[in-house]
């Protein structure tokens, strides 16, 4: 579940981004006490924030409200909009805020839609990615939100039961809608802002694991699949490869699978699903449980030479530089827990991340240190 959002900050920013505020909804009588108070809060914040119109810092315009709401909607479609008050109270501070008063343009056209998980399949867990990091399938989530917002803006506090039907199928039919919203930008910026002179580490490899949850006959797989190799004397798993996305998978007889070689998290997931499909087609009851990204490797180039001997002197507790063994310096960053290989040519390899943001954060941390060693 999403972590509890910080209402004050988000409210203020939310307020700051909005056009002049309409008066609070008149259907006060239908609201509970807490809901009334939150509306009042919002209104007052909006008025106070009129003077300092904060620039629409898109990544931060992320009231986790709709995220919470839609998680509950997705998992309990029957209870979602009919039992409005319960839903709003149980899902966090922001859940009681109704965005119905927002004009349509803000919710639909604003590129920085909050993150929703449309993932109501239990197999595909979102554990590997926190709510604040980029979630896959932005388009369908945006569409889902768009639909919900439009339905919300039509009614004030009470959402008609009729909307439930229109809302519920939306996460399941991503391509059916015409609304095309920009990809989601989460709470923490996915791409580093220009502090690092615009150098962005590129992801080179993603290693992920998934559980197919059925015992496999590796001999049969090696016999019936063209892209499989199996040499039990060398290694106790089938090595399977697919062309698109170009990846390699190790499939074990216990049903566990390791997928390597993808260049992004989504590609890794797609590739893992394709492997599961191949196994399925071979006659095994394969499922797709516990998909988890285990390691991400990124690389980039700072474009100036680095005095590694100097770096190991000043950062001795983190660095290990043994030119007799390896030409690069091994820097073990503590926060985030990433290992960086730094070479004299200025090329940096970052590995050990479970999330994309860790790689970006690690590079942002190391860049000023490396800049200090630019001159001979």
């Amino acid at each position: 579940m999403a972590s509890a959002p910080r209402p004050e900050r988000d409210l203020g920013l939310l307020a700051g981004c909005l056009p002049p505020y309409p008066p609070p909804p008149t259907t006060v009588g239908l609201l509970s006490m807490e809901q009334q108070e939150t509306y009042l809060e919002l209104y007052l914040d909006q008025c106070a924030a009129q003077d300092d119109l904060a620039p629409p810092r898109s990544p931060l315009f992320n009231p986790v409200v709709p995220y919470d709401m839609y998680i509950l909607n997705a998992s309990n479609p029957d209870t979602a909009f009919n039992s409005n008050p319960e839903v709003k109270e149980t899902s966090g501070d922001f859940s009681s805020v109704d965005l119905s008063f927002l004009p349509d343009e803000v919710t639909q056209e604003n590129k920085d839609q909050p993150v929703i998980s449309s993932r109501h399949e239990t197999e595909e867990s979102s554990e590997s990615q926190s709510p604040q990091s980029r979630l896959p399938s932005p388009s369908e989530q945006d569409i889902g939100l768009g639909l919900n917002s439009s339905s919300l803006s039509n009614s004030h506090s009470q959402l008609h039961p009729g909307d439930t039907d229109s809302v519920r199928p939306s996460p399941e039919k991503p391509n059916s809608d015409s609304l095309s919203l920009a990809p989601i930008t989460p709470m923490t910026p996915m791409t580093p802002v220009s502090e690092c002179c615009g150098i962005v580490p590129q992801l080179q490899n993603i290693v992920s694991t998934v559980n197919l949850a059925c015992k496999l006959d590796l001999k049969k797989i090696a016999l019936h699949a063209k892209n499989a190799e199996y040499n039990p004397k060398r290694f106790a798993a089938v090595i399977m490869r697919i062309r698109e996305p170009r990846t390699t998978a190790l499939i074990f007889s216990s049903g566990k699978m390791v997928c390597t070689g993808a260049k992004s998290e989504e590609q890794s997931r797609l590739a893992a699903r394709k492997y599961a499909r191949v196994v399925q087609k071979l006659g095994f009851p394969a499922r797709f449980l516990d998909f988890k990204i285990q390691n991400m490797v990124g690389s980039c180039d700072v474009r100036f030479p680095i005095r590694l001997e100097g770096l190991v002197l000043t950062h001795q507790q983190f660095s290990s530089y043994e030119p007799e063994l390896f030409p690069g310096l091994i820097y073990r960053m503590v926060k985030p827990r990433i290992v960086l290989l730094i070479f004299v040519s200025g090329k940096v390899v970052l590995t050990g991340a479970k999330e994309r943001s860790e790689i970006y954060e690690a590079f942002e941390n190391i860049y000023p240190i490396l800049k200090g060693f630019k001159k001979a």
Partner: protein, 419 residues
């Protein structure tokens, strides 16, 4: 007797010490069960009954040093003596070995690993005292693989949380140069090849410093650089006689192994010296090449600091601006120098514009241009078409063919053993 334990059978505390045919026994006076019998006991619970237990199950193992550890400590001391290290090093290395041995992972490691651990402890001790011992040397002494040594070394440094300083280059130069057998005439070393140790050492040190300054040492194994520097120093001290000698021959008659990268380090060092020579007016006219520059190494080294500054511009700034700076500024600066030159060089002759001071890996053109990866719009949840999966599966006919081929191969490999 009370307080001596209970009988395991009936639980009574009435145990009597009795001797049966000169073998001491503890007997329960109630049921007659023999609680202990001499030293032939095997269970740990026996200790609770005050019976003797085997050594491996007793707590004595933690108090005394095990045989394996004793062997390891002996090896550490032997290695220190072979390397002729000062006596204080021995104690430090022994302490490190004991410290490492306290970890269960090391105690349970294979003998090969423990052997390499001996070398690691000695190496760490030497590094901390700035004693120039290379990993290659230790691996040769221990008959160990460098990869195995590397993994255990990194593991032990992390495990013990040690601060190991880098190899001291100056000390390594002194030790390594002294090992060259060129300081006395011998049947293999003709008189004209013999050299004074001090002169060679000082010149080699200067060359290594120059290499360090011009990015030839960072990221590389230090030893080949020193070999190349020693060779150049030796050649330059008597170029007339020694220019004909190659690097390989030099190492052979000095009785030193030639490391493989030494020849490329030599070329890099000569290139740096040539660039520096371009800045000296009286050398510019001579149009030096890689062989003739050796004769002037003495002069070049004498003015090396200023020459490096003149010959090379800051590579970092250049790389960043990527050619936005006009290269002409370098030549403009030199105008005055040329004008003042008493030799009156013709107008076209001026020193080359400063080269970039960058590590050689940055100066070489990239082997292949890596295009930026196309922005992927994969969401991970797309539909996977059946046809795409089918392309990876064999048709039944293909399966049969494959099975037949496999069977044929099996038959072929098993044939060559006729009964």
């Amino acid at each position: 007797m009370p307080g001596r334990g209970r009988c395991p059978d009936c639980g009574s505390t009435e145990l009597v010490e009795d001797s049966h045919y000169s073998q001491s026994q503890l007997v329960c006076s109630d049921c007659g069960c023999v609680v202990t019998e001499g030293v032939l006991t095997t269970t740990f619970s026996d200790e609770g009954n005050l019976r003797e237990v085997t050594y491996s199950r007793s707590t004595g193992e933690n108090e005394q040093i095990s045989r394996s550890q004793q062997r390891g400590l002996r090896r550490v001391r032997d290695l220190c003596r072979v390397l002729q290290l000062p006596p204080t090093f021995e104690d430090t290395a022994v302490a490190y070995y004991q410290q490492a041995y306290r970890h269960s992972g090391i105690r349970a490691a294979r003998l090969q690993k423990k052997e390499v651990l001996v070398g690691c402890c000695v190496l760490i001790t030497c590094r901390q005292h700035n004693w120039p011992l290379t990993m290659g040397a230790i691996c040769t002494l221990l008959y160990a693989d460098l990869d195995v040594f590397s993994s255990i070394y990194m593991q032990i440094v992390k495990l013990l949380g040690l601060d190991v300083p880098s190899l001291c280059l100056a000390e390594l130069v002194k030790t390594y140069c002294s090992s060259f057998k060129l300081f006395q005439a011998s049947p293999s070393v003709p008189a004209k090849y013999v050299e004074d140790k001090e002169k060679m050492l000082s010149r080699t040190l200067q060359l290594v410093e120059l290499a360090n300054e011009t990015w030839l040492v960072t990221g590389r194994h230090p030893l080949p650089v020193i070999t190349a520097a020693t060779f150049l120093a030796w050649q330059s001290l008597q170029p007339a006689d020694r220019l004909s000698c190659s690097l390989a021959r030099f190492c052979k008659l000095a009785n030193v192994d030639l490391p493989y990268p030494a020849s490329s380090r030599l070329q890099e060092l000569l290139a740096v010296l040539l660039r520096m020579a371009e800045q000296l007016a009286w050398l510019r006219v001579l149009r030096l090449d890689k062989r003739s520059v050796v004769k002037h190494i003495g002069d070049l080294l004498q003015h090396r600091h200023s020459l490096v500054r003149l010959a090379f511009r800051d590579g970092t700034a250049e790389v960043e601006t990527r050619g936005k700076e006009p290269p002409a500024w370098g030549q403009g600066q030199r105008e005055g120098e040329v004008g003042n030159n008493s030799l009156g060089l013709p107008q076209g002759k001026r020193p080359a514009s400063p080269a970039l001071l960058l590590p050689p890996c940055m100066l070489k053109p990239p082997k292949r241009i890596c295009p930026a990866p196309p922005v992927s719009t994969v969401t991970g949840d797309e539909n996977i078409s059946d046809s795409e999966i089918e392309q990876y599966l064999r048709t039944p006919q293909e399966v049969r063919d494959f099975q037949r081929a496999q069977a044929a191969r099996q038959a072929a490999t098993s044939v060559p053993n006729p009964p």
